[in-house]
Amino acid sequence: MKWFRSSALICVLAASVVPVAATQEHSSSTKNDILISTMQRELDRARSELQKHDPAPYFMSYSVYDQTVGMAIAGQGSLMNSTRTRRRSADVIMRVGAPALDNTHEENRVSALSSGTLPLADDPDAIAHVLWRLTYGEYRKASRAYLNVKTKTQVNAKEEDTSPDFSQETPQEHADYHSPATAPEQARLEKIARQCSGYLSKYPYIYSSIAIVTDQSSRFHFVSSEGTDVITPSATIRIAIEAETRADDGMDLMRVETFQAASLDHLPPDSEIAARVEKMATDLKNLRAAPVAEPFDGPALLSGRASAVFFHEVLGHRIEGHRQRGENEGQTFTKKVDQLVLPEFLSVTDDPTLRKLNGVDLGGWYTYDDEGVPASRVEVVKDGVLKTFLMSRIPVKNFGKSNGHGRSQPGAMPVGRQGNLIVSSTHTTKTEDLRQKLIDEVKKQGKPYGLYFDDIQGGFTLTQRSAPQSFQVLPIMVWRVYPDGRPDELVRGVDIVGTPLAAMNRILLTGDQTEIFNGICGAESGSVPVSAAAPAMLFSEIEVQKRSHSLNRPPILPPPGFDASGSPSPAKAGGQP
């Protein structure tokens, strides 16, 4: 199961961001870089030593992520946790056998990886010792797995896809020592967290709220036995604000707002953040009073952000390259290359090289992937026709090369993942006219109303064969749009459900403006930052179901500081009850 959601702990949503040129802190050459030179020296030594053994590795790489993460969490305007940690995670990857068949075959992928923690200081002897320990341990794991793989391929029937296990790529040399942003003081993060969570404490019906401010800066160091040598930086700051209430029938209602940028000074001004948080409070108040949605199958309009999440789940995860092979994968699109999979007016690219779109920083930006392959723009669907997949160095039938989409979090094996998924359309109308088009479609189908999905908190999709090939998207702000001129009616408790091929072919028309959803996406290679961008879309048919929810009543007593009517009580502070 893959997820893409907006829980404040893990996900984000871009605010409109003022583009500012990256700051350059310092630069130096790899010659003076003790970390990368030690990695290189240990890798060379391991390679020549392990060549003497049977089976010998044919590929090795060291990845080191030097990450500093500052985090401040606050609730009710008061700080709950504040930490700043620096860590150097090292991943040793080893492949034994030959590219045609190696220890990573099928379900053995993890046998290629051993992870550990490196010293924080540039102490070459200490770094070398930790790498040495990891490397000979990894060699044992990889060679054991290789023997199993060899036996298993002889015992089992021939696989459908006989592609090799590892692609051939051109070695890369790239050293980018730019520091994209200056890390803010921890006190600054704490102040933002307090301030953002404080906005909500005046609303008695918001039972629970939290603000999480995360500042992360990282430098990725990669060396491989093929001669690749890559150093790239990255940085993000994000504010996630989550607010929860509960309707009288027990349904928990949550709103999340996130603001993300490459550095603190790119974030929107306080006044804009405050206004968006106030809107969350208003939304929640309206949602509590809103009727519960009924199961429905009919015309629907998805905002650009909602469409972006929809495409990330429904299409994006199914075009990840490694899912096209493997006996457990559903392989929805494997045999659809050069066939129509979307309406002809839609095209989809995944372009990690794009840093900004419409002035907004894109979360899925990177220059080199986690296998040291340069990022590239990939035209996945052109005029509705499927062209290719998002490839890591795991080849699939007819697609033997990586296109720079091998991604992972530290400590996981890279696989094909999305970066910046961008949906474009040639059949558009002005976005503001789409509501009328929805009404026209409702009338045409003789339905009592259509649905408008404004905001989506995330979703998940199942791609394994053992489960139905379905997806679920979790919208938050959903309106019934009536054909008779009545005002739109907010409803709650809606889930969009469906199967991918059917759903995507019911898109009739799109808006003319692209909206962006920045988030964190989780799958087997861990959590990676991604973006999805799309215009608003009109669907002839969307199926929704009732969301399951708890039956817990709202809290029995009013919140502290308020009386039963919801007015602030005279004694605001504690002391004697």
Partner: protein, 554 residues
């Protein structure tokens, strides 16, 4: 002693019989409590509101509520091969709320009714803290209401009616101790960790050398609806060194050494840490050179006080806990000594107490010292084993058969567990003792009687009680010869009861910080028969290639 205990037991049974009506205020009204501590103020405000108004229509109101806040300020650092790998300070305030509905005789403490957890703001903002107490109390009350129904439904499946109350009555207590603070300069400590682990260069065969540091201050706040208010703080500091190597036959050998103290002043100096690390590395060198243990041995084994305290911790410490069995189970406790009450569990020259009221033993700090337990009950010295016979169990407020009251041993695992019966300072004494020389002589005598060429002496144990430093003691000349690769075949509670024939006049104070800080004090002991066999370990290979050579210093 036993007679007096029985009297108070009867009294408490009578008391609890009178207290069946589920409503607050059964306890004598405690003195009004006022405080300037913002955490306690927040607790008090929400406790007051909850006691007065928390009730679902047509359902019972709670009969008991408690709030526990654990304010943890922690510093962790780690080094390997002479360089720091992590260095992190964190602070967090956990909250646990338990709401009980029903009565002392039968209540909702079951499954989801065992309380809820949350996090409380660190800053002393009373209203913000109250907000978290309010939410957690509401959740805990609703969960408790459902849990009581679930429990009653499950009990209907069993024929046994409930012979033991669910919750013990305890007198209200107010005890406010000063807060503990964590103040130190990390730089010299990081240097010590680095210097100690840099000693790996003194021996090319060393494969890993790690050191770690953990300084933790836990300030506990506890308040219940019966009027108990407790605040206390404790500092726990530990420093650990561990190293590993492989013998020529590839057997993996590792050793570690730890220091645990309750005052940073009592941590060893850098010089002492370095000296201890060198000693550790020397012992690994000795172990590499040591001969492999013989395949079979059954005969006398002498345990040092250090090794013996580990044995008592496991086989006595685990079994004296008065853990109530699961619903419907008729046993007295969950442990191996559930049906050993008033029977012999150790040789008759041993007596065992658990005494949290002692701050030191033999001049050494006891980490198991506390004044009030985590359920707000005063700590009490408990005589557990008298002349080899089990006479009592350690108890929190959850009664077990024949033991209806807490004896002040309800302690909570850091950071988040509910309190339950746990060790404080377990002290094992022997009425007959021998000196180290006499013990060794007795070991040799026993071997001679059985025509054994040697006996064994264990100096320290490792994980799962495998001997780390084990010596053959030769009958012929008393020589001690280090061996490696041994495990004990039948070391258990039964062998401790039947096969220990003597105890030493020495004692070891073992301070253990994992989960719940506690201490075990025990003398060295001599088993007249124990099986020592070769460990059945999967021998890994030696590293495929040598460790990296040191880079020339610039």
């Amino acid at each position: 002693m036993i007679g007096r205990f029985a009297t108070s037991t009867r009294l408490l049974v009578l008391l609890s019989a009178l207290l069946l009506t589920p409503a607050f205020g059964q306890q004598p009204a405690p003195a009004p409590f006022t405080t300037d501590d913002p955490v306690l103020q927040a607790m008090q405000a929400e406790m007051g509101r909850s006691k007065a108004h928390l009730k679902l229509e047509d359902m019972s109101a709670p009969y008991y509520i408690d709030y526990r806040v654990m304010d943890i300020d922690e510093y962790n650092a780690e080094a390997a091969f002479g360089a720091v790998r992590s260095d992190v300070r964190t602070r967090i305030r956990f909250l646990r709320v338990v709401v009980r509905v029903g009565s002392y005789k039968q209540d909702s403490y079951f499954g989801q009714g065992e309380g809820v957890m949350d996090v409380v703001p660190l800053e002393n903002d009373v209203l913000a803290m109250r907000h978290q107490f309010w939410l957690a109390t509401d959740r805990a009350y609703k969960a408790a209401t459902e849990a009581l129904t679930a429990k009653q439904a499950q009990l209907k499946q069993y024929t046994v009616d409930q012979p033991v109350d669910d919750f013990a009555v305890a007198p209200p207590l107010q005890s406010i101790a000063p807060l503990a603070k964590l103040e130190f300069d990390s730089k010299p400590w990081l240097k010590t960790l680095e210097d100690a682990t840099a000693l790996y260069t003194t021996d090319p065969e060393i494969q890993s050398l790690d050191s770690s540091l953990k300084f933790q201050v836990v300030n506990n706040y506890f308040m219940n609806s019966e009027g108990t208010v407790v605040r206390n703080g404790q500092l726990l500091a530990s420093l650990n060194i561990s190293a590993s190597t492989q013998a020529a036959d590839a057997m993996e050998l590792d050793r570690s050494h730890g220091y645990s103290v309750v005052d940073l002043k009592n941590l060893p100096t850098a010089d002492k840490v370095l000296a201890r690390t060198r000693k550790l590395l020397d012992s690994l060198k000795d172990l590499r050179a040591a001969t492999l243990v013989d395949e079979d041995y059954r005969g006398p084994v002498l345990f040092s006080a250090d090794a013996s305290s580990d044995v008592f911790a496991d086989f006595v410490g685990e079994n004296v806990l008065g853990l109530k069995p699961d619903l419907g189970q008729p046993a007295r406790t969950k442990g191996a000594w559930a049906s050993s009450y008033k029977t012999r569990v150790l040789p008759d020259f041993f007596s065992v107490v658990d005494d949290p009221t002692l701050a030191t033993f033999d001049g050494k700090t006891l980490m198991g010292h506390y004044d009030v337990d985590d359920e707000g009950v005063k700590a009490v010295r408990v005589s557990l084993i008298e002349n080899g016979k089990l006479v009592n169990y350690l108890l929190g407020r959850q009664p077990i058969r024949d033991f209806p009251a807490s004896n002040g041993h309800g302690r909570a695992r850091i950071p988040t567990n509910n309190p339950g019966p746990s060790l404080g300072s377990l002290i094992v004494r022997s009425s007959e003792t021998l000196s180290r020389e006499e013990l060794k002589k007795k070991l040799i005598d026993l071997c001679q009687q059985r025509d054994l060429p040697y006996g064994y002496y264990v100096e320290t144990l490792g994980p799962r009680r495998a001997p780390r430093l084990l010596y053959k003691v030769w009958v012929i000349d008393g020589r001690e010869e280090l061996v490696r690769g041994a495990v004990f075949g039948d070391l258990d509670a039964r062998s401790l009861r039947n096969d220990v024939v003597a105890a030493g006049d020495d004692v070891n104070v073992d301070n253990l910080t994992m989960n719940i800080p506690h201490s075990v004090v025990a003398p060295s002991i001599l088993f007249d028969e124990l099986e020592v066999k070769r460990a059945n370990t999967n021998k890994n290979k030696l590293p495929e290639y040598p460790a990296p050579a040191a880079q020339p210093k610039k």
